[in-house]
Symmetry: C2
Subunit: 495 residues, 2 copies
């Protein structure tokens, strides 16, 4: 009986997976390949596919199959799949169709209004759209579960298993722990940048060599270029990443490629379960981000990595760049205004500001029209600098205007998970840095495959990380790592 | 009333158009971008989208809307759309679902069996699959309309408005008219090939310049590379073409690019009507092919074109190639065994052989096991040469094994339409060849836009061509063109 029902479930989820894959391809193509003339029609195609996914998610037959399976004794992974799917289906069913389409419209409008407002540094023109979006997201959260804090409900879409109750103390401890490092470095001379002009074709060849050396499988994925780097999984054997090359910045582009390759290798390491059962899904946005940050920051900004990289830069680009110079240039500690250019240490304070503000906006304790002032005040208090314009302030990110409320914490969760994974890995692979310097990345990837990737979404992210590293504390691990790397570089030590 | 119903129709057809566009993107991506690892999942995605298109085509609501519109007085273009759609819907409804899926499976099996059989030159292993396919296509034709000849029913899917009664005398006249030219040239020395090694990156830049010069709009389309060149329209503003570059053959690749650019420019010139109403569709495969052949052969193999091209080859590739040498190399007349490498004159005899054989196979007057002998005999009689193996004989083409029966005549229809369009154009643009030599292609494209493209599928292809060129005869126009170009080149004249 259970066997037959499981088969019926996988038939239904395979369809949903194929529709999602198709939608993902439409979006990848839009950003990477599509000629501009295809834009009008593309929006309609994407909306149609999203509607079809929704239809299949709310289909009574799927709910019935899940309800029947939920009463049966199942193998642990199948039980996890049923739990995940029941949660996703419940979320899809509880939001009324009218609200779904109003949200879709408000998100499209919000994105456009944000683009225009950022361009013209005009928050006032964006404020009504943003208010409307927060109101709709409050309605959405309440429709899904009126008994929980709306922020917890929204957060669940990105990082199930994490709540406000986890995040608040975590950000408080981070703030407290980061301040001494930032204070210790304040006023010290910033490291020199690696300057020059670097041929783009040669850079591309270098990126491809690095990506393949890390373990990204080009038979099951590909690298392209887009305005903003991103990664997407079209299917189990088809993971696509993009990067952006800068003629005058060798490290910025490479950092992006390593970040996206980290996402891509996670996707390539997910179990090849039956499509759409959620067992072959990533466990959370935060865990996804841990994989990109691990490679981008922990490996990619380390001195041994730059020692391995230097002769490869020489071979591809012809430039002599000293590993120590790259290591210094890649690891400043300096409060700045723009999140996406922030260094490894101050980055999480940018997230902290956004987290606290979006909670307040959702609760209604902060009015949207007061956001610019609150933002600037928070930057002054937290990072010690104050934006001169909203363009460098609360208009800098795309997220809220596109309706992605509750998304920001995933970035910091990723950094914390990555720190604990890195600490555990370091204690288990004693020659880790020797291996990195020799370009032997395979044991590292194998460890991540074993501890993280192969588990898919068979448990929630915090549990997967706990099983992987034991009883470690992410905040402690991150602060230890930052003091060790940046403290040493700046010649300051923990008091 | 009619207004409301027309709006309701366009809402339904817009959905179908979006699904078709998505399916087209899945297929384009599979051939151009997809990593091999995506293959398994991709078949399922394409099959799912094909199923959704079918579901929407056979939906009772669509039939009801069409039936209501058919009784109303409508503007001529709307009436044409209703007629086209009723025909397509009727074809979709009349074929039982079981036969649809059996055909899909047989076509997939047939394609694979053909690949293997061609590889190993083993017709016997392919024969049962091919018999099965012909049997199913007979059933399909009979399900759609048991009162018409099955070949006419199948042909209608590619070239509505053309029938066996049109094709038979047309091929007979072509055969009769081509023989004296081929006989006259037989034994004369073949022109020298343009040999050398040509950098691929430089070739690509040359192709892009040529394609844009002809009028292909790269804001509404793009050029990529694939094993076999093809073109596809994802949406009105998104037409994609591919080509294949050969390091040792400058003209073969360029010929492919011009052919596909011709298809692409037709798509780009179709009316921007409401999506999916068929008014913005190509009128037929034959008319589509006329646009590719016009640019590939009539323009692209002309001496004035090579005069324009020569300095551009010099600029991109650094090679000095005399226009006269290219003109001679591009225009042999020489019976050969392989259709896709055939010259402009003998090409249609390859189609004639296939046309007669597929009619006989469908009627059952030729048994599949007797195909190799019949094929070889037909080549001996028609082209004067006999294949030594089935690989160079009846196994060379992908069409029948994939279920595309009734497709071949579109190639010759395209050549005939192109010949009449070219003859009419020449009489209306007296300085045509001067313009070509100066690279002034815009008036030519404007003429094609006006006479062919903008009409979409508001009439059947033969009627569109008749309205475009008046009472011309395609066979006469093609023979005149071939005698004029090839006769002159070989120094022979019509007796």
């Amino acid at each position: 009986m259970s066997g037959a029902t499981w088969v019926s479930l996988t038939e239904q989820t395979a369809k949903i997976a194929a529709l999602r894959a198709t939608a993902a391809l439409l979006e990848w193509d839009q950003q990477v390949m599509m000629p501009t003339g295809g834009g009008d029609a593309r929006s309609g195609q994407i909306a149609l596919l999203a509607g079809l996914v929704h239809e299949h998610m709310v289909a009574p037959a799927l709910s019935a199959t899940l309800a029947e399976l939920a009463t049966q004794p199942l193998p642990a992974d199948q039980a996890a799949a049923v739990r995940n799917l029941q949660r996703d289906v419940a979320r899809a069913i509880r939001v009324p169709a009218a609200l779904v389409s109003e949200l879709a419209r408000a998100q499209a409008d919000g994105f456009q209004a944000w683009l225009d407002a950022k361009q013209s540094n005009d928050f006032a023109s964006f404020a009504p759209k943003l208010s409307h979006l927060f109101a709709l997201k409050r309605q959405e959260a309440s429709a899904i579960d009126p008994t929980r804090h709306p922020y917890d409900v929204l957060l669940e879409a990105f990082d199930p298993g994490t709540t406000l109750a986890t995040l608040r103390p975590l950000f408080a401890r981070l703030e407290e722990g980061l301040r001494p490092l930032i204070d210790a470095v304040r006023g010290l001379p910033a490291p020199a940048e690696v300057s020059g002009t670097f041929d783009l074709t040669a850079q591309k060849a270098l990126h491809e060599q690095v990506m393949v050396a890390l373990g990204f499988d080009t038979h099951r994925g590909r690298l392209d270029f887009s305005e903003h780097p991103f990664s997407t999984a079209i299917a189990n054997g088809d993971t696509r990443i993009t990067t952006h090359l800068y003629a005058d910045d060798l490290l910025a582009g490479l950092s992006g490629t390593m970040h996206e390759a980290g996402h891509g290798m996670y996707e390539q390491g997910l179990p090849k379960a039956l499509a759409g059962t959620t067992l072959d899904d990533a466990a959370s946005y935060g865990l996804h981000e841990s994989q990109s940050r691990f490679w981008e920051n922990f490996i990619g900004r380390s001195l041994p990595f730059f020692r391995w990289l230097a002769p490869r830069i020489k071979a591809h680009i012809g430039a002599d760049v000293a590993p120590e110079a790259m290591f210094a240039a890649a690891n400043p500690v300096e409060p700045t205004l723009i999140r996406i250019f922030a260094d490894e240490a101050t980055y999480n304070l940018h997230i902290l500001v956004r987290f606290r503000l979006e909670v307040a906006l959702l609760e209604g304790s902060l009015a949207v029209e007061d956001l610019p002032a609150a933002w600037n005040e928070a930057y002054a208090t937290t990072l010690g600098i104050r934006p001169a314009t909203d363009r460098e302030g609360c208009l800098q990110d795309v997220h809220w205007g596109s309706g992605a409320i509750g998304y920001f914490p995933s970035y910091t969760l990723g950094n914390l998970y990555a720190a604990s994974l890195a600490a555990a890995l370091q204690s288990e692979l004693p020659d880790l840095w020797g291996q990195v310097e020799r370009g032997e990345f395979a044991p590292i990837l194998a460890w991540l495959r074993d501890r993280v990737h192969r588990h898919g979404h068979s448990a929630e992210a915090p549990d997967i990380v706990r099983a992987a590293v034991g009883d470690r504390d992410g905040v402690t691990d991150l602060l230890d790592h930052l003091w060790s790397r940046h403290g040493k570089l700046y010649g300051v030590s923990r008091s």
